[in-house]
Symmetry: C2
Amino acid sequence: MRRLRYNVAASLDGYIADVNGGFDWIPDDSTVDFAALFARIDTVIMGRVTYEVMRSQPELPFNSGTRVYVVSRTLDRNTPGVTVVRDDPVALASSLRHEAGDGEIWLFGGGQLFAALLAADQVDAVEITIAPVLLGGGIPLLAHVDHRTALELVHTHTYPSGMVAVHYEVKRGATRV
Amino acid sequence: MRRLRYNVAASLDGYIADVNGGFDWIPDDSTVDFAALFARIDTVIMGRVTYEVMRSQPELPFNSGTRVYVVSRTLDRNTPGVTVVRDDPVALASSLRHEAGDGEIWLFGGGQLFAALLAADQVDAVEITIAPVLLGGGIPLLAHVDHRTALELVHTHTYPSGMVAVHYEVKRGATRV
């Protein structure tokens, strides 16, 4: 079974983008090892809002050959470089997780897609890199859901920029607390 | 100048209480050194909602002799054990911070009071102990505010229970990013 990881940067108050969708509050930190992250993933899933933010960047931040799925009811199906999935992100995630191989799946954002996949027990790991800032508003790292999810801390790392990475496994089965 | 610290436990998604005001999601952890925290504070400020939650507990979690201020327009002024402050929490915080001595002031909650004091530059330190859980909703650690606040990471600690403490100084002056 391939693992699906929600890996995002967030403010201390839990936002993955500011009220304008921006992320200029994430400090540059040359010690962040993106290569290690990219080496273990071969598939990326994201919601439409996250895609629009990412598309505004000069280039996609993924290795060539990475499969990119965007869950959206409105995005043009012929958008180059990505596969648009109209609905049922749970079926998409389940199908990708059951593929052969051990490449991992990166849930790149955002909070609504995370909520849908978390509720359907499709998320294996939650990895948040906390930036040293309070945004006071924006896009929450998790949209509102009506149950709790227990996590198990597996790793922390403090970066020179003051970012703190906290990595968790989702506690399955015994998970709803 | 006395220091004012916002010190709370929060879920990974940034809530200090669940949708019912509860905090049974905070793990018991015998290694949490409450004595060290209490030793350095002699004054506590909190909002009314936080006070109502705390009041439901068998006893106040503070040392005897600790001054407790509750900011509330509705709480009875004769509530025993606390000083009720009707309005202007900024004036209260400023007055307490300018008192002689080096006892510290613990902003115990909640997110609305924190927002008001943060906006008025009355908060010196932000200390969040992150519990290994996603609540999906509840009382945010910071109510919505319309500006960012830059922080400087000064300390982290990982507890056996999987809680992670992240301590920051509020960056004054250069603070709004």
